[in-house]
Structures are given as structure tokens and as C-alpha cells.
Amino acid sequence: MRIRRRQVLSGSAAGAVSLASGLAAPAIAANEPIKIGYLPALTGPSSSTGVGINRGVQLAVEDINNAGGVNGRKLELIVRDTQSDPTKAVNAVSELTQRQKVSMIFGPVNSGEALAATPLIARDKVPMLHPCWVDELIDVKKYPMAFRQAPTNSQIGGGANHYVVDVLKLKKVAVISDTTGYGTASVNTYVPMLKAKGADVVYTNHIDAANPDLKPEMLRMQSAGAQVIMPWSVNAGFLSRILNTRGAMNWDVPVVGQTTLGSGQTKALLEKPEYWNKVYSNNFRKCCYVDGKLPPLTAEYVERLKKAKIEFADTLLWWVALGWDGVRLMADVFKNGGTKAEEIVGYMNKVKDWPGVYGTVTWTPQQHNGFPDSEVVMCEVNSLKDGAFNLAPGYAS
């Protein structure tokens, strides 16, 4: 499936009409569609997350519109593919806020784009919902209209650190990353957090992801006495090299880290299937199997996905769920709060325990990070089935 930028999906012909009359002043009539600006990275490098989320987003919009929309108004998704390029994201933001006058913006997912887009969206006083994890995006003073339905990077790192230190009870940790912005920033944040938890970070380094040979790195981790490796990267090639080298060295050390460890791309690059054993990646409690079963709400959702014939071979459940939740959440906000910026923010500030498939969301006027720590968990990557994983061993169910 190839999705073009500015593809307008609304379940009716209204989308095409509104695109043509993009310059016209918006009339807020009772049956006008509600415009949602959507900034995914659907093409270009690291677009697999965006593609996965997009499946959930599109399905949710379709379902809501088929059921009559929100208070009789259809949802209209205005999509601009940012291609993970911050300059395109900035252009897109001004189109969405100024020309399309959207009620709310969902995205972007990639950190560089999200960091650039957020201040601009805030400047134009449009409420936004973040699926992105970068901590700096949420600041109730600077960006009072920005909310996050996803965990922060600190929560993600905290979850992994918690698993390593408190569940696996390992103290000597090697933390590594690739040389991208995401990788370096993660290591710089997580190492002090680990130390604060009393762990001993015996090795830390940024590694060029193009480097084909990680053996010297691994040997140094080994000789430093590392009991666990925590890699932070979204590069499947890099992560698979870590796992392959670990396997070739017969080094029986757990690898705990980024969700990409569990992606199909990483799996495809493994030299032997068993190299995927003892690998634990971040995941979210509501998207994990416990005793072979998903939580009831999630199971119901997966049935819905199967009915819609959503492809799972190349994506993950939580990606799709994240997009699905985002649209459902915004629809609820429109329905119960309204579609004006202050109505939206006023309602969102009071959302409590909103039951999502991806996570339970709670916001307060002081805290716009809505994802609970308790739902950030680790999973066993070799248990991948229908885009979801088993909860890693050691968690109390």
C-alpha cells in the first residue's frame, strides 16, 4: 500500500472539495467535517513505524465516519508525508495550521521533525497530540496545547532500566547506541538514570551503524564484565549485528533495549533464528500476551483488525494501536469537549484513565505526558506472533 501525501480520507467526497477550496476561509458549520492534520513519515528512511501507525489511523477514521462521525460531523484527515525530513515537516505545519485551519494535529513521529514542528504548532495555537517519545516535546509552559498519548524516552529507558536492575537483578551494564541523534541522546539520558538506580555502567559507546564489525566492541563489553547489553538504535542492521556477534561469540548475555530489536527487519538479518533468544525489547503491557492471551480490549481490537485484513507480517501491533488510539482519542475529545482550541485543551486537561488499546491515558493541567509508567514493559522478542509479543519473564501479571 502506498499512501500519498495530502491524501484526503474522509469517507465522503468532502475531502476533495475542501482541498480544492483550501484558500477559502473555514466556515464552522454543524455538518462541516472536522479537520485533523496528520504528519506521518510514510516514505524515506525509517518509515516503517509511520507506515504501521498509519494503518491504525486510517482504519479508525474509516470506522468513526462509517458510524456517522463525531456529533454528525465527519472526520477529515489531512495527510502530509514528511519523509522524516524536518524541513518538510516545517512546511507542512504551516500548511496545516494556516491554510487548512485544522482543529488538531497528530504527529510527527520522528524526533527531528517533532522537535521542529512543536514550537511552530504552539505558535499558531493549534492543539496537538504526540505519538513521539522525545521528552522535550511536552512542556506545559512553552507548549500548553501539546499532549502526549505515548511514553517519553525517559519512561522507555526507565522501563528497560527497571527490567535490568530490578527484575533481572543485573548490575553491570553496557549501554551502546548508533551515531544518530536518537541513539546518542538516548545513551546520554539513560546512563545517568541507570547509575541513579545503583547499576554499574561498565561500558558505553556510540558506534557507527555502518561498521560491519562489532566484535571488538562486544569483546570490550565482555572484558569489562558486562552482564547485560542495552543497545539504543532504530537501525535493524546495527541491532542484528549485535545479536549475530553475540551469537557467534557464544556469549550468553541478555540484550535489553529498543523496540526495533523485535522488528521483522531485525529478525530477517539474523544469521540463526536462535540468536533472537534472550532478547528483550520495550513494549507496552496492553499489547503483550500473558499466558498466550491479550487483554480483552486488545483482543477485541485485533479481531477488528483481522476483519479489516490489516497486514501484520511487516508491522507491530503497538504501532497500529498507537495510530488507532490517537484518532479515537481525538474523536472523543471533539465529541465531549468541542472543536475549538480552548475547548479541546480544556477537555484534554481533564482526561482520566482513557482506556486505549495501546495505553491508558491520563492528563492534568500540570502534566501532559499521559502514559503510565506501569504500562511500559519489556517483551520477549522471539515470541512474535501477529505483531505482538509475550511479556518478558519476571513481571507480575
Binding site: T43, G44, P45, S46, S47, S48, D178, T179, T184, N205, H206, I207, D208, A209, A210, N211, P212, D213, K215, P216, E217, L219, R220, N235, A236, G237, A248, Q265, A268, L269, E271
Partner: protein, 285 residues
Amino acid sequence: MLQSIVSYGLAVGAVYALIGITYNVMYSASRVFSFTAGMLGMLGGVLGALFIQKMGINAVLGFVMVLACGAVLGIVTELLTVRPVLKSIEQHLYVLSTLAFALMIQQVTAIEWGTEAQPFPVLLPIGEGWLDQKFWLPLLACAVTIGGLEFLYRYTLIGRAFLAIAEDNYAARALGLPETWLRIASFALAGMIGTLAGFTGAQMLLAFFGNQSILNFYGFVPVALGGMGSNRGAVIGGLALGLFQQAANFLVGGIFAAVAVFAVFIVVLLLRPEGIAGASTARRV
């Protein structure tokens, strides 16, 4: 640990050396530096994975098909991007035409093959460690290529014609050598060497569209340092670069390793613009 640095350094270095030779073969025939060298290396891996892994074609046949694709791409490069700008070579338009062509191919690869690295099949599982295909295959390919080229240049008529063209274009034409055909043949040969580099190195570097820019640069370094047109210089330079890079990765870590390679490249070039092997400047007037 030393073994790891040396084995990977040599294997990666052999790939760089082969890309360097690809630059050289094209340069000798046309006085053109072509940005397509890295593209050929990238495609060697991607096409190999496509034919053998995805389409399930027999490995030998797949290998031959990859080389054939390389030859065809080499010829297309010559026809499309080199020949039209050759008459005004002093304007260096070839830099732009070959860059444009390479970018187009890379973009098509990114869209059709995907932007994620994909696996390359193990073809000859004869052992571990040094016997692992990913180490010896690039080295073997490099040795075979350099041996083959030496044989071609020394003992065959067509090889001597290549040399004559490389030495002096005008004189060769005056001797009645079919310069155009020799140039096409050189580009086809370069296409095969480039894809060979990518094919043999792909186990290590994976089938990944981003390898193009990496190979373009790291394949050029041995040429620049070893003296352009010198295949032996390229091999020595390539292996040295591979070892240096792995050692730098190990000693100073990812971010600074890349900076170190680039910095050494620039400094050496500034000190010795003609490369370490050195050659005098051409007559200008």
C-alpha cells in the same frame, strides 16, 4: 580482538579496493571520475539478494546475472552520462552527469527495494572465523580481479589496447584503435568489477541502498591516496583504509572514527594532491 580488526579490516578494505579499481578502470578509458562506482557496489549487494534470496535463483546463475547487470549499467553509464560530455571534458560536466545518474538509480532502489538493510544469503558455508565467506570472499574477489587485470593488460591484445588508450588518447586514436569500443568495454568491465565488489561484500555490508554513498567515498579514498589509475595503489590504499577504519572504530569510537577517516583523507590530499604514489602535473599550455 586483533584478529577481528584485521579480518574485518582486510575484508572491508578489499571491497574498498575493488571500488577503487572500478573508479580506475573508468578513469583510464575516459579520464572521467564517475560517481557510479559506489552505485555499482550498492547494486551488487541489492541485486544479489534480490536474485538469490528473494527470487530463489541458483547462486551461480544469480552471480552471473548480477555481473551482467553491472556490465549493462556500465555501458548505460558510458552512453548516457560520459560520452555526451566527453568533448568538453575540461568543464568537468561528467561530475554532474554521473552524480545525477547515480542518484536516480539510488532513489529507485530506495523506493523499490526499501530503505531498510536486508540480508544477503550465505552462499558457501564452509566454516567459521577466517573461513567465513564474508572474510575471504571479498579478498578472493580482489585478488582474482587484480590478477585478471594484470593478465589482461600484459598478455592480451585488447588489454594492451586499453593501456594504450589510458596512456595517450590521441596517439591511440591515431594508431587506429577503436577508442569508442574500448571505452564501452572498459565501462562494462568496471560495471562488473563494481558489482563484484558489492556482491562479495554484501554479507558484511548487507543489501542496503545507503551503501552507495559510503562506498562512493571510501572507494575513492584509496584511488586518491594510491594515485589515480594505479590499481596496485588502489589495493594497497583500500586494505590500509579498511584496517585504519576498523582500528579507529575500535580505538576512538563511532563518531570520531568517521571524522578521523575524513580528516586523514583531506590532510593527506592537501599534502600530496597527487596521492602518496605521486605523479607530476600534466602540461597545461
